[in-house]
């Protein structure tokens, strides 16, 4: 067995040799790699980097080797992460397959389901999206009404999902569907894997206030899904759904962590640029005070994520504290963009075209996009409900 020190040294050497220089730069949103059949690689290095990492299983460092994962311990995975951050390596692959479905299949899937899907997630061959919310079921997710009726060897699925992230670019979708409408709402839900090649599945992009379309509405019309694509037991999908949400919250709670902080302009740098500096300090003491207040909270939160990582036994599921991370991380990220725009002054008000730098325009869009952080993956209000109930034990 390698010691942590050896592992760190070996990892470092491997990364230095294998991570192309172009993949050690700030990653614009449009250069994020999410894989799938329709993946487009703006730069050839993206694909090279993905393939090299996937070959080692390091797109999914802690997943078992038998499915193509890295088989690392939690400690080794942390070392890999730290070394990648230190070198500024981009994440070779992202997506809901890695962050949500994979851990769920590892916990609840059949061996066949794992063997079918995990390797393709790890390699980036298949891109997944999430079919949870519906127009009438947002915070009250369990009230969902998309129907799946078991007919022999198939489910027949009809319904309408919303906020299916990048559904138009995805190959498969994991869905919550109602399989028994006659019982209490939590007791009639199942968790299905659906191939989006079926012509009955129609995603339609939604334009956001940021001008981007990262979400879709997705319509299901008489979609036939093999019964073997059911994860867990029939009508027991809610348990799986909640666990998957914990993974989602934990993922969102890591906002900023994975964003290669190395390449990000911190609010203080932006303020220095636009407000000016005196003796190396932001010239306006009030703006400086606001930024320090934000940065202190952000720093303390970053330490809290580290503390939680140290506390967590390897492989332990995220649990209700994930609600705290989701809540705090998203509220912080919104504050961060408010700070950035406050620092930029008039230069933070541009939408497109002349008069603004690329970063300035990007910040404006990202500022608007950040407003969704406290809505998607369970609103801040839902997270606070969860903390109150499940952590503090306050009564319903």
């Amino acid at each position: 067995m390698t010691t942590p020190t050896t592992f760190r040294a070996e990892t470092r050497a491997w990364l230095e040799e294998n991570c192309p220089p172009a993949m050690r730069t700030r990653m614009p949103e449009e250069e994020q790699v999410a894989g799938g059949k329709r993946a487009e690689y703006i730069r050839p290095e993206q694909k090279i980097w993905l393939d090299r990492m996937a070959a080692k299983g390091w797109t999914a460092p802690t997943w078992p080797k038998k499915y193509g994962g890295g088989g690392l311990t939690a400690e080794e995975a942390l070392i890999l992460d730290e070394e990648m951050q230190d070198l500024g390596c981009r994440a070779p692959l992202r997506g809901m397959g890695l962050s949500m479905l994979g851990p769920t299949l590892l916990e609840y899937g059949t061996e066949e389901q794992r063997q079918t899907h995990l390797p393709k997630i790890i390699s980036g061959e298949i891109r997944w999206c999430q079919g949870y919310s519906e127009p009438g079921s947002g915070s009250d997710l369990a009230s969902l009404s998309t129907r799946a009726v078991l007919q022999g060897e198939h489910f027949l699925v009809n319904g309408h999902k919303i906020w299916t992230s990048n559904a138009h670019l995805s190959d498969w979708i994991f869905c919550l569907v109602r399989t028994d409408p006659t019982v209490k709402k939590h007791d009639g839900i199942s968790f299905l894997l659906i191939d989006m090649d079926d012509p009955g599945v129609r995603p339609r992009p939604i334009k956001l206030i940021s001008g981007k379309s990262v979400f879709c509405e997705t319509f299901f019309e008489n979609v036939q899904v093999p019964a073997s694509h059911l994860v867990g037991q029939l009508n027991k999908g809610w348990t799986i759904a909640k666990r998957l949400l914990e993974h989602e919250r934990k993922g969102i709670g890591g906002i900023g962590a994975r964003q290669q902080a190395k390449f990000e302009l911190p609010p203080e740098a932006v303020a220095k640029m636009h407000v000016g500096e005196i003796d190396g300090r932001i010239a306006d003491p009030v703006i400086r005070d606001h930024i320090a207040a934000y940065s202190i909270d952000a720093h303390a939160f970053q330490l809290t994520r580290r503390r939680a990582a140290e506390e967590a036994e390897s492989g332990a599921p995220p649990g209700p504290l994930s609600a705290m991370f989701k809540y705090y991380a998203t509220e912080l990220n919104k504050r961060r963009y408010e700070m950035l725009l406050e620092g930029e002054g008039f230069q933070g008000l541009g939408w497109e075209g002349e008069g603004f730098s690329e970063d300035e325009l990007r910040f404006t869009r990202e500022w608007l996009r950040s407003k969704a952080n406290s809505i998607e993956g369970g609103t801040s209000e839902i997270q606070l409900n969860i903390i109150a109930k499940r952590v503090l034990g306050l009564p319903d």
């Binding site: 947002g138 956001l208 636009h274 930029e344 002054g345 008039f346 075209g353």
Partner: protein, 359 residues
Amino acid sequence: MALILNEEARMVRDTALEFFRERSPIVALRKLRDDNDPDGFDRALWRQMAELGWTGFLVSEDHGGSAFGLTGLGQVMEAAGRTLAATPLLSTALIGASLLELAGTPDQKDEHLPPLVAGERIFALALEETARHAPLTTTTRADSAHRITGTKRFVLDGHIADYLIVAASDGLFLVDANARGVTRTRTIMVDSRNAAIVHFDNAQAEPLGSLSHLETVLDRARACLAAEMLGSSSEAFDRTVQYLKDRKQFGVQIGTFQALKHRAAQMFCEIEVTRSAVTAALSALDENANDAAALCSLAKAKANDTIFLCGNEGVQMHGGIGMTDEHEIGFFLKRARVAQATFGDSAFHRDRYAALMGY
């Protein structure tokens, strides 16, 4: 100082509310944006506003106005704020008219005020040079022959203006926007309203009085912009409260959830105190009161914080649907950011208020 509107002002308000609701709902702003409209505003609408007399509220009767005053114009702007109407009210009916009235020569008034009142001539104030509101510092200068050189940014309605009023280090100047040496670049703003960067390269100008008028007119602009922001805040809030009544989750209206109720009640309080500050500022300006400047900073600071609150809570309480471009609530959030920065953000006005109050 009057804190309630008189009969005339109430009539103006009611007329304006109906006007914007019917002729310039938010869909009009969306259309200007999606069509990449080169003007960025509706000239026909502007002429109708002129016909209603709003362009002449700050112009004396000698030049075709009614001298109705700031409180009246504030009502119009508050109504415009409710539908986020993109108009040259601020640049022209307020700033242009005020500077010409206060600083213009008789000839300048005769030449410019009648077409301004008629809605046929647009003005824009070329003031800012840095990324933040800094009215007292300018590096733009005029030579002895009144030729202007310098760069101004965030010039509201700059690219559609017929005349530019330039704040230079040695006074205010009036420049034909199409004169040689004037280069205008429209900037596309997040609120889909008009602004431009304007370069002056030895552009011929004529003097328009001293810089001493600038602060007076900026205070008028701050108070009226605060009125517009109050309208936008109120509308965003009203829509949000309605959504809390309409949207059901967990089998009940989401407005039954106490945490949302309390936040809505707090927003209500903030809007109410902002309304008092705005009304007081407008009234103090009309009466030339000693504390007018402090009240204008008070009004703008409160309006800034309240529109920030209402825009953000509006989107959050609308949930996912509030993040879509299709829904209108997001337009308030975008407008909020620009309005907050215009003519002084909250930190600027807190500092100015403290200075005016002697600390």
